[in-house]
Symmetry: C2
Subunit: 199 residues, 2 copies
């Protein structure tokens, strides 16, 4: 029965994600993870070769899901302003539901062994490149005021990702209203008027 194995494996990943986000990788033990799943520590090694592999799996899966989700949403047509708005809206709405994974992805990069680190970092670069392309197109089209594409891209991503550090469900705003605000700020931050992006 492969199902059971898959479920236990996922349960381990889920428990590890929640625990590491709460306490950090170094502060979570295999015994903690096992007891959250309802098994003994040694049983984990039937599913993962090491503690590092759990962290590596978590971060790789997070970045892969992020890139795949963006690939489904991205559009090549429309003005650069439209595509920037779409990017901002996607980033905020996607990340708001994944605060644990985002937190780990940003905080535990340094806890990763090189083999995982390189792969995760490469995916981060690919994601950032998507935004850089939009900014470059916006400059070509004429509407964007951007002094430095690399810095602007990172500044926008930092601004948008910041939502995960304070957002909590059941706050005063819906996800949509929250995204509206971030979309507008993003557009304005590259010199566009409020309301420029149609998305």
């Amino acid at each position: 029965m492969l199902d059971r194995s898959q479920n236990t494996r996922d349960a381990i990943l889920d428990a590890a994600k929640a625990l590491i986000a709460e306490r950090s990788y170094g502060a979570v033990s295999m015994r903690d993870i096992a007891s959250a799943v309802g098994i003994r520590q040694s049983a984990i090694y039937n599913h993962f070769p090491s503690k590092q592999a759990i962290l590596g799996d978590l971060m790789m899966a997070h970045m892969e899901r992020l890139l795949a989700a963006w690939a489904q949403v991205r559009q090549f047509h429309g003005t650069a302003a439209d595509r920037l708005a779409a990017f901002a809206r996607f980033h905020v709405t996607y990340h708001v539901d994944q605060t644990d994974a985002v937190f780990i992805a940003y905080m535990e990069l340094r806890s990763l062994e090189e083999r995982y680190f390189e792969a995760v970092n490469e995916m981060r670069r690919r994601y950032e490149y998507e935004l850089r392309t939009i900014l470059a197109d916006g400059i070509d089209e004429g509407g964007f005021k951007v002094r430095d594409i690399a810095i602007t891209a990172r500044a926008i991503i930092a601004m948008l990702t910041g939502v995960t550090t304070w957002y909590s469900e059941g706050g005063r705003l819906t996800t949509g209203a929250l995204a509206d605000i971030y979309v507008e700020m993003t557009l304005m931050s590259v010199g566009l008027e409020a309301g420029a992006g149609r998305t």
Copy 2:
């Protein structure tokens, strides 16, 4: 001779800051810190009652220095745009030189026992309030397009603080040029034209 004690104490704090920023609180041992300073682990307890106290001291000192540095720079006169520009410039230039402390302050908040956590969080609120005041003034004066003061303040701080995650000395930009870009993006993000703030 009080000097020697003070120096050893500072050396412990400096070593802990660098090590924790590199590896995280949970992954740094008292033996690691001691050996970086050149003493034995047990000697640390002549200066700090516990490992937690070292982390607490680091974070409290960081926030106190930040608030004190801002208090020296802040101006009550000038337009809101000027003061926003001054805030952005201060935040970027100050944080760029303190990447270790900033990283710890953001990452290890959850590692802090409640007593320290409350104090540190209160100082963070005070700092954020400075920016909120500027935004509120800018709305009153008429020039700012801000849909939500709380979210805008956090978005701006996240954007500006983000510089610490990738900036490294000896990069292609001077600190001043870097700050110029962030100041301009900050002003535009609240709907001001590029070049609005005079600072």
